[in-house]
């Protein structure tokens, strides 16, 4: 079947099987290997991308379900080569080690800060509770998101 998906602002028309999972469409058909997969049962969250402005687990979606919709992946976080504050925060606060869960974590963090610019640590933990990290023990991920929130608040103040 023919689908057209807008990914990171560009339209992609492709011939796919209905059963093709969205994560495979992004990685294998479009070469966007920044999003990963790590389980069979929708538990780990390595595959989190945005579908029409909400984070979803792309391993549990068919590419066909994204036909006519918008997808945003980690490759879209940096704007014109400039890192998103979430990306900066992860680097500043050692929020990643092997880097495999990181794209998914950052996509959820970006969405959280867009809707809750000043989250408490418990709110960050809850927002990320559907995504697994095996390396960091989560503490530095939380600090990374707090860093980004503080950085953005500072920029808003400076801009205001």
């Amino acid at each position: 079947m023919q689908i057209t998906v807008n990914v990171n602002g560009a339209d992609y028309a492709r011939e796919v099987e209905a059963r093709l999972l969205l994560i495979h469409f992004l990685r294998d058909d479009l070469g966007l290997t920044g999003s990963h997969w790590g389980c069979d049962t929708s538990n780990c969250g390595a595959c989190v991308v945005w579908l029409d402005d909400v984070p979803v687990k792309s391993c549990t979606m068919l590419a066909a379900m994204a036909d006519g919709h918008r997808v945003r992946t980690v490759e879209d976080l940096a704007v014109g080569g400039e890192l998103d504050p979430v990306q900066q925060g992860f680097s500043e606060c050692h929020g990643l080690q092997c880097g495999f869960c990181t794209p998914g974590m950052m996509m959820t963090a970006r969405w959280l800060l867009d809707h809750n610019p000043d989250p408490a640590p418990e709110e960050i933990r809850e927002a990320l509770s559907g995504q697994v990290c095996r390396c960091t023990g989560y503490e530095n991920i939380v600090r990374s998101v707090l860093w980004a929130a503080k950085h953005e608040a500072g920029q808003r103040e400076a801009g205001a």
């Binding site: 999972l21 495979h24 049962t41 929708s42 995504q131």
Partner: protein, 296 residues
């Protein structure tokens, strides 16, 4: 990662169209809503439908409204939307309690209320919840619309009364005065299926429980309900002795099985304890008190 078997795909443009497609493609067709119950089963090849009928475009099935004295929830409502709905939480706090402990925030963004109910997992939190609310399921088919009580909706593990050519469209809950509700769940971890869970809805008249709805999940309760314990509670005083006895009766009538989540004896114990805890909180809420017993 595991991948589904070959499947055909149709996109429904309206409820009528979805029903027509269901009829056309027969019993080997499955409705694709959020897909967060169906697609994992397809990846593991536990189910292999021939055709998927994608209803995600049917915005007419996504709503949360109050009409004619009922809270009405469209089947395509995402879990996150129900959790976020002020009007739902205002009438039935149990809906927020339950949604908060279903899966995880990302899954809740896309999985639907109708999808979870139709999946009919014996450990489905919403099944016990809607049973306790004595909800009504609205089902549309080629011959029109019918309603079924939430307590008659399930016919067995992973089986409901929704026929192959039918679609669950809506869940309705009657709004009556004096209501308080709560959900209590024990899992091995956040986001886990329940080891045991209890749903309690009370309608108070003064200090008496005028009516009660009790739901149980994951403990083999018939129709996800604790009907005998409800019978006991009707007319009983709203107090600790009633909660404890209701829990005891609920536990007596459920039939949990031992598995990796726990032994049957433990699950039965949870049925008892969690029923009592859910009732305690439901009564507090009916009285307008918070968890610590203070005016909310």
């Amino acid at each position: 990662m595991q991948v589904p078997a070959y499947v055909e795909y149709e996109k429904a443009t309206s409820v009528e169209h979805a029903l027509a497609l269901l009829t056309r493609f027969g019993p080997e067709a499955r409705i694709l809503a959020g897909g967060h119950s169906l697609i994992p089963m397809m990846k593991l090849r536990l189910v292999q439908p021939e055709t998927l009928i994608d209803i995600n475009g049917l915005s007419e099935l996504s709503f949360i409204t109050v009409a004619d004295g009922e809270l009405r929830i469209g089947a395509l409502t995402r879990h996150a939307q129900l959790l976020d709905s002020a009007v739902a939480g205002e009438h039935f706090a149990i809906l927020h309690d339950a949604e908060r402990v279903i899966a995880d925030p990302i899954v809740r963004n896309w999985g639907t209320v109708g999808g979870s109910l139709c999946q009919a997992d014996p450990s489905e939190d919403l099944s016990g919840t809607f049973a306790s609310l004595k909800a009504t399921m609205v089902i549309r088919g080629p011959d029109g619309t019918r309603t079924v009580s939430a307590r008659e909706f399930h016919t067995g593990p992973y089986e409901t009364v929704v026929a192959p050519a039918e679609l669950l469209t809506e869940i309705r809950i009657a709004i009556r005065p004096g209501c308080g509700s709560a959900y209590e769940k024990v899992g091995r971890r956040v986001g886990d299926w329940p080891v045991g869970a209890a749903a309690a809805v009370v309608w108070l008249a003064g200090d008496t429980i005028a009516d009660a709805g009790l739901g149980l999940t994951a403990v083999g309760a018939r129709n996800f309900a604790a009907a005998e314990a409800e019978e006991f509670l009707r007319g009983a005083p709203a107090g600790e002795d009633s909660y404890a006895e209701a829990g005891r009766i609920a536990a007596e009538h459920c039939r949990p099985s031992s598995d990796q989540r726990g032994p049957a004896g433990y699950k039965r114990h949870l049925a008892c304890e969690l029923t009592a805890r859910a009732l305690r909180r439901a009564v507090r809420r009916a009285r307008g008190l918070d968890a610590a017993g203070r005016s909310a």
